[in-house]
């Protein structure tokens, strides 16, 4: 194991205000199970899980409540004991509505002694409730057993996109994983959840890395961390000191979007992933968030499925910024209350980081397996802009880490010429927001790109359906 400095710097990128000092020194704190949980069936990328419970059912912590529904899908387990109050469509952080199971965690089945907030006491005392899945010895278990465990535990990428981890760890035949990159860049402003994980749970991450390495057939491991986290680098160096094989901690320069999969591949090894539909595995890479690594470690060694995650609650409008370990399905309002409530009325509520997160309209939305942060920004930090015409300054072109001509794409989409945007390779856009961030005319360039990508995807899906219908004839 050695630590190296990244020799590769990608083109473009921006330097937003990181504001990480708000929560970086706050140790991970476990939140009591809230009275109501809203557990979405669509916490991951791909097909939503099929709901297995109905209103009135009592469920136990860890019980399967949503079945994997297709190849690119992830199962959902109950994050706490409780009674199902309803199964209904609820708004998710990204704006879409999906089926969600609403739990009352205070309800008890008849006949059981009424112990008020039993779960809270148990968990805050850190007593482990009997394991949900049988613990596995990863050294003895076969690759298939480990993969099955990752699937059963309902693990998806915890960096944000939520790609099913068991699919990612199982490359299609003929494709070999040469490098496993563990993503600890955390380049989003405000967020410190991964930083705290590295400080406090480096041993769990190490177990996860060894398991992933075994599943992938022993690739070289690169752990990517931005250089503004020296404590995390030290903690990881300590935890990984005696690991065998080709493992390196790569210290990356501070630059947004350093945490992007493609940029990390370039920054660590210097390889470039071709345009979509090519995936990192096509050039021999699997990139996993380190939170996912820790979740895999827990799922295998302790038998704990992915039921909770660390979410950074931060921003200048929250009384006490914290890194909270909360069950997936905790409503934002409960998270905010746990962090001492609002200091000043927030002007903007963002699920995720300030660069790629989603502004949400109500704190009634609940966290998912991918919610890395919840930011409450006061009117001082929220800039109300009105966008103006492009002044052809080229700052977005310089800022774009994907070498796109963002200004021209935005102009094409603005005049409804999606074809022109496609010719300008808008599909390679990673929606990092560097263009909008750098635009002096406050043009919503990223939004234009998203719009183009959405209509291109819709067209592709329509063409595919048409071709399938023709083939069926």
């Amino acid at each position: 194991m050695r630590t190296v400095k990244s020799p590769f710097k990608f083109k473009g990128g921006v330097h937003p205000d990181y504001n990480k000092e708000l929560a970086r020194d706050k140790a991970i704190e476990r939140m009591p199970v809230p009275a109501e949980l809203v557990v979405s069936m669509s916490q991951h990328l791909g097909a939503p899980a099929k709901c297995l419970v109905k209103a009135g059912d009592f469920v136990k912590r860890g019980q399967l409540i949503g079945e994997k529904n297709g190849f690119i899908s992830v199962c959902v387990r109950a994050p706490a004991d409780g009674k199902v109050v309803a199964v209904e469509k609820r708004l998710g952080p990204a704006g879409g509505k999906a089926d969600a199971v609403i739990f009352d965690t205070t309800a008890k089945p008849e006949g059981e002694p009424a112990e008020p907030n039993n779960q809270t006491i148990k968990q805050s005392n850190n007593q482990t409730i009997s394991p949900i899945l049988p613990p596995l010895d990863w050294k003895a278990a076969s690759r298939e057993e480990l993969l099955k465990r990752v699937e059963e535990a309902g693990i998806c990428g915890m960096g944000g996109a939520g790609f099913p981890t068991n699919v990612k760890l199982n490359p299609p035949p003929g494709k070999r994983c040469e490098y496993l990159i563990l993503n600890g860049a955390e380049c989003e402003p405000y967020l410190t959840a991964d930083f705290r994980l590295m400080l406090e749970r480096a041993d769990r991450i190490r177990v996860g890395v060894e398991i992933m390495r075994k599943i992938l057939g022993g690739p070289a491991v690169r752990i990517a961390i931005e250089e503004n986290k020296p404590e995390a680098i030290a903690a990881m160096e300590k935890a990984f000191a005696d690991i065998e094989g080709n493992v390196e901690i790569v210290v990356l320069p501070v630059l947004y979007p350093q945490g992007s999969e493609k940029h990390q591949i370039f920054a660590t090894v210097g390889r470039v992933v071709p345009e979509p539909p090519a995936l990192p595995i096509d050039v021999g890479f699997v990139v996993e968030n380190l939170g996912t690594g820790a979740a895999i470690g827990d799922a295998v060694e302790k038998g704990d499925p992915l039921l909770e995650r660390v979410t950074t609650v931060s921003g200048d409008a929250v009384a006490e910024p914290k890194n909270v370990l909360a069950p997936s399905g905790t409503k934002y309002s409960d998270l905010i209350a746990f962090c001492g409530g609002e200091k000043v009325p927030p002007a903007k509520l963002i699920s995720g980081g300030t660069m790629m997160g989603f502004a949400v309209s109500t704190p009634e939305i609940a966290t998912t397996k991918t919610t890395s942060g919840l930011l409450l920004l006061s009117s001082k930090r929220v800039f109300q802009y009105s966008s103006q015409a492009c002044i052809n300054c080229g700052r977005c072109v310089r800022a774009c880490p994907m070498n796109l001509n963002a200004a021209e794409i935005a102009k094409a989409v603005e005049s409804d010429d999606v074809k022109a945007a496609e010719d300008l390779h808008v599909m390679t856009c990673i929606e990092c927001g560097a263009c909008s961030f750098s635009c002096p005319a406050y043009r919503p360039i990223t939004q234009f790109c998203r719009r183009a990508k959405n209509s291109i995807r819709a067209r592709m899906a329509a063409e595919k359906a048409k071709a399938a219908a023709a083939a069926a004839k």
Binding site: L91, G95, G96, A359
Partner: protein, 269 residues
Amino acid sequence: MATAILIIAGIGMVAAVALAVADRYLSVKEDPRIGMVTAELPGANCGGCGFAGCDGYARALVAGTAPNGACAAGGDAVAKAVAKILGVEAAATERRVALVRCCGTRSEAIRVGDYNGICDCNVAAMTAGGDKGCTYGCLGYGACANVCPKGAISVHDGLAKVDKRLCIGCGKCVRACPKHIIELVPASATIHVLCANPDKGPSVRKVCGVGCMGCHLCEKNSGGKEAGHFTFQGFLAKVNYDNPPTDGAIVAKCPAKCMVEDSHFESGH
């Protein structure tokens, strides 16, 4: 001089012969009915029939691969004219117009956020589902108005409205709306329920002052369930356009004020 004249005349001769031969042997025979049918179609090229413009539909009609009466813009008159040319039956069609099933203006329906991104409903809907408290309602960023080939849709006070006189019923707005609340309804129907929120009354009331609560009063006042003028989806009343109500008195009795008699511009709603 003479050489020049001879060369030019020679080239002219050769070209004339080539053209005459091409006309004789390479000509493409087109069914004259295609031209006749195209002339009858309205020429709006709206695409409402599902073909690329009126010419495409005319070709499909003559080839017998498209049903007569699919031209919403032309309606009955065109279907009859086409039937005459092609010698087929004209299916009776009724003129249909678009209806935006929402009446939550900015003053009635609350907005939960300040949206200042791109002015397009589809983009706004991608941003936390849009800024309207009611997740079913019209966002009012004019995606429908932008695709309307006739300029029949305009947005007033955060709400899209269709001018019945201009609408040709092509259905482009139906496909453009991210909330799927635009519907093609018979132009003769005069009473409409302008709401698309199937949630329970209290949750509708929280977000909109004029949302349907599913109280069934419209059904009761129009002759009860047997009369069949309304259908219910969750807590939302829908007009049964196969058997629409005609008595305007029920409109005033709607406690939610989401019913209108002739929702279109011409009556000044």
